[in-house]
């Protein structure tokens, strides 16, 4: 892989990340003139406590001084204390990170595999019954807010059958040994993962179908057929690799949506990850928490886009071999 390409992408990602850091300051310190006003117990604060809060939040001095203090604290990964729990924000986030990573990771993997498979098949057999059924279904899935899937699953699957727990990360107060606890956690994950997967399956399938159809008209497919390759070989060796390219970038862009999906899905299932933390921070006006969560979400998306650029380079020989 060309080193220049990689370097360019990494520098681009770092620039965007620093843009987010500056933007974050702008949002929480300039658009919001008095961040402390949203502190819940502010009426009870003595003058002394108020001054401590101002110092702790880095709200002293000119905007430029505040900016310097802010940037330094970002580098130290110090995001202050949560208005709500009064604990350091970083600890609150790292404690919840694994649960969310697991939920989003598993469902993204599932969505990509199933969505790309359906999209490939539908695009390859355009106009067939499979195409018409799957495309209509994908349109409906795409039009449904993912948390509504969660509510439906809760009401009609968990509620009616009792096969699945209605929320949480694991059964409270129970200990089934190592394997049992693991199974218990998986049991709790089934419905949230299903919700997120259903929520984004539609758009991934539609994206892949469109790029399959775009490659169908290409000359190299005619050549491949003329060589006498079987239909399945034309598809898997020539059509799919080329159709994957535009899908990779589009899927990377759409991962911003998945973060939104995680927030509502975790809310529906009271799944104690970063999404639920975001929802709670919204209801409690917990600015320090929201500020850090926004930074983390942006960093995650930027990282995911960078990974997508690498995958793109691996898949596309033109980028891979270019110097």
């Amino acid at each position: 892989m060309s080193r220049r390409y990689l370097l360019k992408k990494v520098i681009g990602a770092l620039l965007t990340l620093s843009g987010v850091v500056v933007f974050n300051f702008f949002l929480f310190r300039i658009i919001d003139r008095d961040p402390l006003a949203k502190y819940r117990g502010r009426s009870k604060l003595t003058l002394e406590q108020r001054e401590t809060m101002i110092r702790r939040m880095g709200l002293e001095g000119s905007k430029w001084d505040q900016f310097v203090v802010y940037v330094k604290s970002v580098f130290r990964l110090d995001f202050g204390r949560s208005f709500d729990s009064t604990q350091p924000v970083l600890g609150e986030i790292t404690a919840r990170l694994p649960a969310t990573l697991f939920l989003v990771g598993v469902s993204t993997l599932l969505t990509i595999c199933i969505g790309l498979y359906i999209g490939t098949k539908a695009g390859w057999r355009r106009g067939s019954r499979f195409d018409r059924t799957s495309t209509s279904a994908a349109m409906v899935l795409y039009s449904t807010p993912e948390f509504f899937f969660g509510m439906l699953l809760l009401a009609f699957v968990a509620g009616r059958t009792g096969w699945f727990p209605t929320g949480g990360l694991r059964s409270v107060g129970a200990n089934y040994g190592f394997v049992g606890n693991l199974l218990d956690r998986i049991h709790h994950l089934v419905l949230p993962v299903l919700t997120l997967t259903l929520g984004y399956l539609g758009s991934y399938a539609l994206i892949m179908r469109t790029s399959m159809i775009e490659t169908l008209g290409e000359d190299y497919l005619v050549t491949a057929r003329a060589k006498g390759l079987r239909d399945s070989e034309v598809m898997s060796r020539h059509a799919v690799p080329n159709a994957l390219l535009p899908s990779v970038s589009l899927i990377a862009i759409s991962c911003g949506f998945v973060i939104g999906g995680a927030i509502t899905t975790e809310t529906v299932f009271s799944y104690p990850g970063l999404g639920l933390a975001t929802a709670n921070a919204i209801r409690n006006n917990d600015l320090p928490m929201l500020q850090a969560l926004f930074l983390f979400a942006s960093a995650a998306v930027i990282l995911f886009n960078l990974v997508a650029d690498f995958v793109y380079a691996l898949l596309d020989p033109r980028v891979r071999r270019a110097e």
């Binding site: 965007t16 009401a155 919204i282």
Partner: protein
């Protein structure tokens, strides 16, 4: 002389526009998904307009449910039952259609205006201005828009109008990109060069030649922004933004969720608003994709 000349030119322009419009209408009628979308959309439009006929606005007030049973199943009095404080769900659903549509459309106007201005400027201007606009556009494409919308809404306020502006402000980047590409190809066309050679200024070229060329793209794109704006609105409302006393469909789902209607399976409370969101998003998406196909012949057959 001049007077009559300008009216004939205007008449010609209008005749051309009428022809273009009837061509679009003809093609839309034969595009099955697009036509279904249009019908569905008209249905929702009528539903929103008929709100005062179906229920009085006062039944949204918290006090209106005081004498009604809470979370009561559908009956002849309440066709869709009641919510957790005894308010008529149907009344909230029909008035909510106005809130959801208002936020979706206002957000789209904001997004389309910003996206068109940035796209036109970035495509028409060369050099530094274009580079700066592109960098801003890139930034807004990458930054996850829901977290961004959340922090903006927390800082700026939680009212429906603020929500609409925030949603619009976070979802223009894609259309700016599309419009810029179209402007770039249009500026190379012979008729634009001819206008420039005849001494037309930038403003004239943009307004008279480039804008009419990108207008179809802008319209199709706008029709596709509405459904994402409505979905974003329902997500934000579900997370606690918006107004409980004038609830959008998303806000109704928030109420259904937090009142525990799911646990007791009060389907009349959470099913209708969810299905309405699916319906309206589907309608706009089908129509938008059909318009894209009609305006861009390369997309035929998708």
């Amino acid at each position: 002389m001049r007077e009559s000349g300008s009216t004939t030119v205007r008449a010609m322009t209008w005749a051309r526009r009428r022809r273009a419009f009837s061509r679009v209408w003809r093609e839309l009628r034969h595009d099955r998904p697009g036509f279904i979308g249009l019908l569905l959309l008209s249905g929702f439009g009528l539903f929103a307009l008929s709100a005062p006929l179906i229920a009085d606005r006062s039944s949204l007030l918290a006090a209106s449910g005081r004498n009604n049973p809470d979370l009561a199943a559908p009956s002849s009095k309440f066709l869709l039952g009641t919510d957790e404080i005894g308010r008529d769900v149907l009344a909230q659903l029909v008035w909510g259609s106005r809130v959801s549509l208002f936020i979706g459309l206002l957000a789209t106007v904001v997004a389309v205006v910003i996206g068109s201005l940035v796209g036109l400027a970035a495509g028409y201007a060369k050099g530094k201005i274009s580079a700066v606009l592109l960098a801003i556009d890139d930034f807004f494409l990458v930054v996850p828009f829901l977290p961004l919308a959340i922090v903006l809404a927390v800082i700026l306020g939680r009212s429906p109008t603020t929500l609409a502006i925030v949603i619009g402000f976070t979802s223009w980047a894609g259309s700016a990109r599309l419009i810029r590409a179209q402007v770039l190809t249009l500026s190379e066309r012979a008729y634009v060069e001819r206008a420039r050679a005849l001494g037309a200024g930038s403003w004239h070229v943009i307004v008279r030649h480039v804008l009419p060329g990108v207008a179809p793209l802008i319209i199709a794109n706008a029709t596709l922004i509405v459904p994402t704006a409505i979905l974003t609105e329902s997500t934000l409302s579900f997370l606690g933004f918006g107004d409980r006393l004038s609830p959008s469909w998303g806000k109704l789902l928030d109420g259904a969720q937090s009142s525990g209607s799911i646990t007791i399976n009060a389907w009349w409370y959470f099913l209708p608003p969810g299905l309405c969101i699916i319906g309206i998003v589907l309608a706009f998406t089908l129509l938008g994709r059909a318009l894209e196909r009609i305006f861009d012949p390369r997309l035929k057959g998708r």
